[in-house]
């Protein structure tokens, strides 16, 4: 190949390459400004779990452990107990005295949701679970259960557009990353330990 021909083909290739780059300048950018902008998820995105309630405030979960046995990652631990007549947690005779999901083990497959006979455990589109300690990824009822003031929670069928309207409230009230001023990681471990001791049921 003559040097002239070689130069011409290189020029064509370069022009083609730059044309692609130039053309991209006018395309819509795929990156989003996370965390100020959040992506719209697919309607059935599998994120952090939540335990729902009935409208009267009773827990849907009956502690049947079917989610635990369906879980392929063995991430769920449930210990059932009998409802006391004066302190009814769920409509039937049995409720979950302890309900824990190890979110580090969880593979977010959603089989727990499918196994649940009362639609109690659902996977929400919430995905921001970063934390400083492994232990804090074991979510107990204190963080899984929808707080009474935050409604009943939503089933996947009720949120066709991904993030349901009340998810913000729920997420805020259930937030584990409630960092106080002057907070540091060491201190946080202590707080979590105290919380877990008091609330893990």
């Amino acid at each position: 190949m003559s040097p002239l021909r070689g130069f011409a083909s290189a020029l064509i290739a370069l022009t083609g390459g730059f044309a692609t780059t130039f053309g991209m300048l006018f395309k819509r950018k795929p990156t989003i400004e996370y965390p100020s902008v959040k992506k719209q998820h697919a309607p059935r995105f599998h994120g952090l779990h939540e335990l729902r309630r009935y409208a009267d405030g009773k827990e849907r979960c009956i502690g049947c452990e079917l989610c635990a046995i369906a879980c392929p990652a063995n991430a769920i631990t449930v210990i059932g107990a009998e409802n006391a007549p004066g302190d009814r947690r769920s409509p039937g005779e049995r409720y979950a005295a302890r309900y824990e999901i190890d979110e580090l083990r969880c593979i977010f497959c959603g089989l727990c949701e499918e196994a649940c006979p009362t639609d109690a455990i659902v996977l929400t589109p919430r995905f921001e679970m970063a934390d400083y300690r492994r232990g804090s990824f074991v979510y107990a009822k204190d963080r899984l259960l929808v707080p009474p003031q935050a409604g009943v929670g939503t089933a996947p069928d009720e949120r066709p557009n991904g993030i349901p309207a009340d998810l913000g409230t729920v997420a805020e009230q259930k937030s584990t990353v409630d960092i106080a001023t002057g907070y540091d990681a060491t201190n946080r471990g202590h707080i979590l330990k105290t919380e877990r001791r008091g609330l893990a049921g």
Partner: protein, 755 residues
């Protein structure tokens, strides 16, 4: 010699089967490993023909037949599978499920439920019921142990038939008819039985559930270990189900035909909560003055070893005593014996309660001998008090084989099967003339009665009769402790002599292995307390700080029966393996491990593990020449009072004594309240009514506020109290003593069963 039954050959699913004549089809099918679904049929309860799920096709019979109530015939051609059979079962299941609630997710039986399993195998998946399901009461409190769910019940009547055929207590019945039929007690009273837990296992659905296990777990969570029950001396095989380090339930072993026949008593089944009780001792405790100090194991063993060496050097081995061992496993007993012998200590005695002897001599029988006996004679406390599952064998012998049950002494043999009561053994003469096989059950307490019985049964044996002898132990492995040598040898001090030496100030060290003589020794609580206080150094191993442990100077945390491996003897002398099902508290050591540590400190060579295992599993040596053996029992027969007046009988109770039942609050209703049992006539003569509060006195000793219970089965002129209750210790009193009742007050307290 019985003739062999005739055999018939039939074909099941194309396979030829040869079984004895009279076999039920459902049993014959097991020979070819064919699973015929059953609900109402149970191998130990027989057919009832109620549920109709076991439908099979028999050639030349136009309609489907139930396999559970069809007897095999020569040349029968049976099909247990196929479209016709499956269609029939689907129809039966549709009816069974018609009103059955969809409780499976919360039902305790879910996962091990026959209705669930067969619905998946044969059911049609969808309900065609357009109307509302029949609603019935749920979570009915049937008694202290059982909760009934009427909606789940399929009325197979296994529970009520168990209560009729096996226990003969007949308290469970089917009430109402048709879709309204429910299980209930005949009188409406709470369902109380020593064997109530068995109905939860028999129930093929989740209608009957145990209070202690309700909603605690699902079957697939549980880790199962097979072991041997160590709550009494019967030796029932037991499956221990554990989750997250907690023993949640125990289940019977249906194949355990040699001992329990698949039944468990409630004590064996429900007394498992103490393992996790927070009052358990979790580290060695030393008492210095009035102050308890936690010690490390090294310090504790060193303290013990140093004291032993000091006492041996200054006062010799006669100044050292060893008590207890009837709750230990064979290996542990051997280690205790080995270490004590190596130190030259002969003052060893396992007998810390009333029992003087736990081996039956040369005529010991098996449970089959008991079942096949034509006459069963109980001497003293009957097995219904101390060995409940053995009592089921006796009931079986009486109800199914027509055996005669005769009780001698102050305790009637049974409230639930026909029995004759005789006051003295000499009254027995002549009544056993036409009987060939006789079983004697002695409680091992009254040596004089035992010796009298030995003479009587030797005479019967000389007449060519088959005599078998049983001595239920007061502690689970009493037989092992006796056979493996925890006995004073060659004139050494027995328990009472040791306590007397302690009061005399000549005993320097007393080591107590898993025993509570303050509560159980017939010398009386005050006597034993005084004795223990005068010993300079008392060591006790136990799970809890008992009445005896509080007086010790060193208390060592022991392992309980589900936490250690080893072997034990049952009361017939058969060896059973005990397997650890459950992790012990981190600082608890078994008595055997303590002995190993002590031996290491004292420089004593131990037998090799192989030798230990060989000795622990060998057949128990024959210790006694017979019942009431003088060399073994000594001359400590309680004085029998011929004087007029009320005589005292001291009974055992499955839920009194052992100590562990006091550390599970869920068993509160099952524990006997301090009370006394009287016959109605005796009570009337003394002016006592049902549930009155009474004070019982004998020779200056008084038991206050005993609740009176009237029982038609009780003997005239006899007052029965329960042994081993910490609230009302009966060990200050002697069997057969004359007592007075006074200070009778009527009480609004609910009447409950005392014995």
């Amino acid at each position: 010699m019985t003739t062999l039954p005739k055999e018939v050959t039939l074909s099941i699913d194309g396979l030829p089967v040869t079984v004895p004549e009279g076999t039920l089809l459902v049993e014959a099918a097991k020979a070819v490993q064919t699973d015929i679904p059953v609900y109402c049929y149970h191998p130990k309860l027989g057919p009832a023909g109620l549920c109709r799920i076991c439908l099979v096709e028999i050639e030349k019979t136009p309609k489907l037949q139930i396999a559970c109530n069809t007897v095999v015939a020569e040349g029968m051609v049976v099909r247990t599978q196929g479209p016709k059979v499956e269609d029939g079962r689907r129809a039966v299941l549709e009816f069974l499920l018609l009103n059955h609630p969809l409780d499976c997710p919360i039902c305790d039986k879910g996962g091990e439920c026959d209705l669930q399993d067969y619905s998946i195998a044969y059911g049609q998946g969808m309900s065609r019921l357009a109307e509302r399901k029949e609603l019935k009461p749920k979570a009915i409190d049937l008694g202290p142990t059982i909760v009934l769910d009427d909606e789940r019940c399929i009325v197979c009547q296994r529970c009520s038939r168990f209560d009729e055929i096996v226990t003969n207590e007949r308290s469970l019945v089917v009430k109402d008819r048709g879709q309204r039929d429910v299980i209930a007690t005949a009188t409406g009273a709470p369902y109380r039985s020593n064997f109530s837990g068995n109905v939860t296992e028999l129930c093929p659905v989740g209608a009957l559930t145990s209070k202690t296990y309700r909603f605690r777990s699902r079957p697939w969570d549980l880790q199962r270990t097979r072991t041997t029950c160590q709550q009494c001396s019967v030796g029932c095989a037991l499956n221990v189900d554990e989750r997250h380090g907690n023993v949640l339930r125990t289940m019977s072993v249906p194949s355990d035909d040699a001992v329990s026949e698949g039944w468990l008593c409630d004590r064996g089944r429900y007394n498992v909560g103490f393992y996790a009780d927070e009052r358990r001792i979790t580290s060695p405790l030393g008492r210095f003055g009035d102050e308890w100090v936690q010690l490390s194991w090294d310090d504790a063993i060193e303290l013990w070893a140093t004291r032993l060496e000091e006492a041996l050097a200054s006062a010799g081995s006669a100044s050292i005593g060893v008590l207890g061992g009837g709750r230990l496993l064979n290996e542990e007993i051997l280690l205790v014996r080995h270490v004590m012998r190596a130190l030259g200590i002969a003052n060893v005695d396992w007998r810390t309660g009333r029992q003087r002897q736990a081996s039956p001599g040369a005529r010991g029988g098996t449970y089959d001998d008991l079942e096949n006996a034509q006459a069963i004679v109980t001497l003293g406390r009957p097995p219904s008090q101390s060995a409940p599952v053995m009592d089921l064998r006796i009931r079986k012998a009486v109800l199914r084989n027509g055996a005669r049950l005769i009780s001698i002494g102050a305790h009637p043999a049974s409230s639930f099967v026909p029995a004759t009561h005789l006051a003295r053994l000499s009254d027995l003469a002549g009544t056993l003339a036409e009987v060939e096989r006789i079983a004697f059950v002695w409680d091992g307490i009254d040596a004089a009665l035992g010796a009298e019985a030995e003479a009587a049964l030797a005479k019967l044996a000389a007449e060519g009769k088959h005599v078998s002898v049983f001595v239920p132990g007061e502690t689970p492995n009493a037989r092992g402790a006796e056979a493996l040598g925890l006995l004073p040898a060659g004139g050494a001090l027995d328990t009472r002599a040791q306590l007397e030496a302690a009061r005399g100030g000549t005993l320097r060290i007393l080591s107590i292995f898993g025993a509570n003589p303050v509560l159980h020794h017939p010398a009386g609580a005050a006597f034993v307390r005084e004795a223990l206080k005068r010993v300079p150094f008392v060591v006790a191993t136990d799970l809890f700080l008992t009445e005896t442990g509080r007086l010790a100077h060193l208390v060592l945390p022991a392992k309980a029966a589900f936490e250690k491996d080893g072997h034990s003897f049952d009361l017939t002398g058969a060896v059973h393996a005990v397997n650890a099902a459950h992790g012990a508290p981190p600082d608890a050591l078994s008595d055997g491990e303590v002995m190993i540590a002590l031996a290491a400190h004292l420089g004593i060579d131990l037998p090799s593990p192989r030798e230990l295992a060989d000795w622990a599993t060998a057949s128990p040596a024959t210790i006694a020449n017979g019942l009431g053996d003088a060399a073994l029992c000594g001359s400590l027969a309680p004085a029998r009072d011929g004087a007029a007046g009320l005589r005292l009988a001291i009974a055992a109770h499955p839920f009194a004594g052992g100590g562990t039942v006091y550390f599970d609050d869920r068993l509160g209703e099952l524990r006997p309240r301090p009370g006394l049992l009287l016959s109605p006539a005796t009570a009337q003569a003394a002016g006592i009514g049902e549930a009155d509060l009474v004070d019982l006195a004998a020779g200056g000793r008084v038991l206050h506020d005993l609740v009176a219970t009237l029982d038609g089965n009780a003997l005239e002129g006899v007052v029965t109290i329960v042994d081993g209750l910490p609230e009302a210790p009966a060990n200050d009193f002697g069997e057969g003593e004359t007592v007075t009742l006074g200070n009778v007050r009527s009480s609004r307290a609910l009447a409950g069963s005392v014995v």
